[in-house]
Amino acid sequence: MDIWNYLEYAAWVLSILFAGYMLYDTVRVDTTYDNELLTSSREGELELTAERHEI
């Protein structure tokens, strides 16, 4: 086991972390927010910001 083996493992671990973070965040956002809000310009609606969803 030399340095390159360690680097390989580190690369796998980091990749899984990055992928996991993005997937988790996507699922979280998709379930928290209304799809209409995300895809349309409903964010542009004339609502005060206090009425927006909180994170």
Partner: protein, 464 residues
């Protein structure tokens, strides 16, 4: 082009923005310079050393035509968005859909090619230290996922690298050239192959090499075209773009010169990292380190830009309803097209892990070529529908229709060049785009809000 919004300090800063050194480097570094660090050398494999050089210069001519045509349309269509927005205004949804696809495929394949190169680079370095057979996969995957994550995080992930670091990618090529010229190389430059094996495949080889010659410049129309929102249309030659092409021409020639002189052409034609390999041949450790940094930075910066551009293009198509609106979602916190970014990651991974570098590059080049081909037809239609006097144009490119015709001829030659040796890829790509167009025409078109997309206050086109 004064930015008077934020007071005197910002005015001064905006002037610096135009004239500062960052602008000069920005022309050559980043997305496009990576073409010098990998990929172009396959042109040498297809036709020999001289063919590689000829391909470099002919491709420069092709891109000059692209720059001229593109500048005229960009300076006239006020809404930003590059060729995609132009197609929406000038031609119509089906063309815009195809152009959007070209963009996405060209950049996603380029991203995959960059990731493969990172894997090659690390494998070579590991081999130099005695660790043979490095598994490149985790590094390829990490490159793509890491940069995708950075893009996903959008406005919350800001990087500010010193310009000195970013300039290294360009400086490295020059330093290598100068070092070799002044005898720093253990192995001297050897151009005897020019006399003995000038054109190993004859003139057909020269034409065939045009295929990879495009790689030196692929993407420059995007780099120099980063448009402002409020544009004062430039009436003169697009100096920024032309300077970019000149920079690349010089860099490409230097690259060809150094690599062809140091590496036998048969090996050069199959190398994954030609500049780095040239540095290895010189035997100088500092040159190797410099070119390692240059290659790593150029490929990663390029991949980062590709993820950004491809996802924005896919996102725009979703918003325009050319694709399901689901892709047009904006992350409420990071302000990024997160679904588009995520969707394109597996596509890049599949090609980066599953296809060899030359094929991935071919897919990217083909998508780019299709974009340039349609540019010629778009230009003809543009001038016919709205002649020069009928609307206010910024830059009017000279000698029309000569640039469009030259571009069409060179593109056709390039298709033939790709066909020589990569016929399967050519046919596969064509089938893909035909099927996609049919899908769009028969299924998606009903969702498109055509009227909304055309907002330019132009008169009715001639003939309508």
């Amino acid at each position: 082009m004064a930015d008077t919004t934020a007071g005197g300090g910002a005015e001064r800063l905006s002037l610096l923005r135009v004239l500062g050194p960052g602008h000069v480097w920005a022309l050559g570094v980043g997305i496009v310079l990576v073409g010098e660090y990998m990929g172009w050398n396959f042109s040498v494999g297809k036709g020999g050393m001289i063919a590689g050089l000829v391909a470099c210069w002919v491709a420069g001519l092709l891109y000059t035509c692209v720059a001229m045509i593109d500048s005229e349309v960009t300076s006239t269509v006020a809404a930003a968005g590059g060729q995609y927005a132009q197609a929406k205004h000038i031609v119509g949804p089906l063309m815009a859909f195809n152009v959007g696809l070209f963009l996405v495929m060209a950049y996603t394949m380029l991203e995959a090619a960059n990731a493969i190169t990172v894997g090659f680079l690390l494998d070579t370095v590991a081999g130099m230290q005695g660790h043979t057979g490095l598994n490149q996969q985790p590094f390829i995957i990490l490159a793509i996922l890491g940069l995708a994550w950075l893009n996903y995080r959008g406005v919350l992930a800001t990087l500010s690298f010193n310009l000195v670091i970013t300039g290294i990618a360009f400086i490295a090529i020059i330093v290598l050239f100068l070092a070799v010229e002044f005898g720093a190389s253990a192995v001297p430059l050897d151009f005897t192959a020019i006399n003995t094996e000038a054109l190993p495949y004859g003139w057909l080889g020269v034409i065939a090499s045009l295929h990879f010659g495009l790689w030196y410049y692929l993407g420059i129309e995007g780099t120099c075209q980063a448009a402002e929102e409020v544009r004062s249309p430039a009436r003169s030659l697009p100096y920024g773009t032309m300077a970019g092409i000149m920079t690349l021409l010089i860099a490409a020639t230097l690259t060809w010169y150094v690599c062809s002189g140091l590496i036998p052409w048969e090996y050069l034609g199959g190398s994954g990292t030609p500049l780095f390999d040239a540095a290895r041949v010189t035997g100088s450790t500092s040159l190797m380190v410099l070119l390692f940094i240059g290659t790593a930075f150029a490929t990663l910066a390029s991949a980062n830009g590709c993820i950004n551009d491809a996802s924005r293009a896919w996102f725009s198509m979703g918003r325009d309803r050319y694709l399901p609106i689901w892709f047009g979602a904006v992350h409420p916190r990071y302000r990024t097209p997160y679904r588009s970014i995520l969707f394109l990651v597996p596509i890049a991974l599949i090609f980066a892990l599953g296809a060899p570098l030359d094929q991935v590059i071919t897919f990217s080049i083909l998508s780019g070529l299709l974009g340039y081909t349609f540019m010629t037809f778009n230009m003809m239609m543009f001038r016919r529908k709205w002649p020069v006097a009928s609307i206010k144009r910024g830059y009017v490119h000279p000698f029309h229709p000569l640039p469009a015709i030259v571009l069409l001829v060179l593109c056709s030659t390039a298709y033939f060049a790709v066909f020589l040796g990569y016929g399967t890829q050519l046919i596969a790509m064509m089938c893909f785009y035909i099927i996609a167009s049919l899908w769009f025409h028969f299924w998606r078109y009903r969702f498109v809000k055509r009227g909304d997309q055309f907002t330019m206050p132009w008169p009715r086109p001639v003939g309508y």
